[in-house]
Amino acid sequence: MKVKTAPGSDYLKLSYLACGAGFVILLVLPVLAPNLTAYGIGLLMYVTMAVGYNLQGGYLGDLSFGHAVFFGLGGYAAALLVEHNLINWAPLNVFIGACFAAFFAAVIGLPFLRLKGFYFSIGTLGLSSLLLLVVKNVLSPITKGEAGLMIPPPQPYHIEIFYYSILGIAALSGLVSFLIVRSRCGLAFTAIRDNPEAAAALGINVTACRVTGFALSAFIVGTVGGFYAYYASYINPEGVFAGTISFEVLIMVFLGGAGTLLGPFMGAAAFYVFEEVGRTYIGPGFYLLPALLLILVFLKMPNGIMGLIDGRNKKAVEKVSEVNRAC
């Protein structure tokens, strides 16, 4: 009988090959199929957010229900700088927005990350609902409240510029998460996820790691927020702080496989296709499709699409049936 070992070098080679091929296809997409460029931008925004979320939700295991906060803060910080005539150079604004989101994450992370498990999830859910209302009502003299902010599109305006910048952001965040996961820091992250007490006993600074992961994840999601503000040329509280955004990234990450490098890419792509099909054929209420998908994923493939590829789903399902027999 052939003994099955952990995914070896063949598997790794294949996944590098797949990444390279995917990148090349995306690189030439606007040339080959210009009418798909807008879809490509949407897809890459989802991918980047999923990669950002995965760093924290997947590797550190802190499930945040409020990542829309960082998306919204990144977008609003970039837009407010334009609105109040301070800085108007798109890359710098997006960068400042992302830094602001990361800074905010680090500040609130210190108290919030003391909360364990689902308390953290509920806390972030409350935080995102609170921030939506604060930006909409309390800060309305600065943020123009419900009316939202208009941002003049950067000149010269070409959709290809947007496409290649988000492709660059996506590739860069993919690379950053690859480097982090493969580093000492990434090992510390997984150790904390699997057993925080044991990790602390090994001398890992648990709080510092969790705050770092939170801030990094917020930085990446905040970048997409800033990009979105420029791309849509308009930003309003309901659009960027909505709870649905937080849950969308969550679904994408778990669909693809949380805590895997390629999972967020696959999950975001699959989710995007489902969403667009639903939007086209169902109209209002199109979230029905992703919702059913999410339930199906948790019932049949707990390790997501990546689990389908490396065969961990089968094992997990077998384990569940074992547990069910035992009870």
Binding site: P111, G126, G283, A316, K319, V320
Partner: protein, 298 residues
């Protein structure tokens, strides 16, 4: 001078009564969430949407057959209880491989359900607002110069009845098994309590409570598909405030939250009313995660 005093009393009475009335619905949602979280460590994010599902059924029954929502509630409660037990048995149990992950997995699956229910309703019934036009909507009882209309009084009465029933239930053998499972699942298992069965039964009770909450909600508020998640968040706040698994805590926390809302909307402004809810949620989580009352978790 006497006039001013009278005016003050009148306003204070109004604030308190309306706060308690809104709060009793929050109590109902918090109660349902807290018992299932306490017993099964199941965080049911589709709780509000189950309530909305019940409310839509009651609404249809009222429009088509002129059936009073409270009468249809009698049929709705067992119906939703069945759905709840089904969710636990066929969706959550098969997905949990490790009891440690029960909460995470249940959040994901019930969030999927919440989206499915609210979007399914949107597809069938359109996202527009709907109002229940009851014959007794505009008549009411005058107490201390404040007119409280009958639907609002009904909310208070039904909540009281449900709370009494729930406390009664906790005195029976089933209720004691629920409390035991909620305190320590492992020990409950050792004394012969079937945890899976108790969890499914608790889910059924919790869903029946969601039906009551949903139907009471539409007596005084507009109905639209997206409101379910708002109600869930209110219920979560009540659950955290009262302490997880604490039935009395949830009941009191709901009323406190309702009072806090009506006080804020009177003294600071109506737009701040929800801000206070989330602020309270975060503050309690950070300062007293076990709730403001003594929690069963200790």
């Amino acid at each position: 001078m006497l006039g001013a005093m009278e005016h003050f009393l009148h306003v204070a009475f109004k604030i308190i009564v309306f706060g308690l009335l809104a709060g009793s619905i929050y109590s109902l949602f918090g109660l349902g969430l807290t018992i299932i979280m306490g017993v099964g460590k199941v965080l049911n994010v589709c709780h509000g949407d189950l309530g909305i599902l019940g409310a839509y059924v009651a609404f249809v029954a009222f429009v088509c057959f002129q059936l009073d929502p409270l009468l249809s509630l009698v049929l709705l409660m067992p119906f939703l209880a069945l759905i709840g037990a089904g969710i636990q048995k066929f969706l959550i149990n098969p997905a949990v491989s490790d009891p440690k992950h029960q909460t995470t997995v249940s959040v994901m699956i019930t969030y999927g359900l919440a989206l499915a229910i609210s979007n399914g309703i949107t597809i069938i019934a359109s996202p527009s607002y709907r109002f229940l036009d009851l014959s007794y909507s505009y008549s009411g009882l005058e107490i201390m110069g404040t007119t409280i209309n009958f639907p609002r009084l009904l909310v208070l009465i039904v909540t009281a009845v449900v709370a009494v029933c729930l406390f009664g239930l906790m005195k029976t053998k089933l209720g004691k098994s629920i409390q035991a499972a909620s305190q320590d699942q492992m020990l409950a298992c050792l004394i012969g309590i079937n945890n899976r069965k108790i969890t499914a039964i608790t889910f059924a009770i919790s869903s029946a409570l969601a039906a009551v909450g949903g139907v009471l909600y539409i007596l005084n508020n507009p109905l639209y598909p997206a409101v379910g998640l708002n109600l869930t968040v209110k219920g979560l706040t009540v659950m955290v405030l009262g302490g997880i698994g604490n039935v009395f805590g949830a009941l009191a926390a709901g009323l406190i939250l309702g009072l806090a809302e009506s006080l804020t909307s009177f003294f600071i402004g109506d737009i701040y009313r929800n801000i206070v809810v989330y602020f309270v949620l975060i503050a309690v989580l950070l300062l007293r995660p076990s709730g403001i009352f003594r929690s069963l978790e200790g």
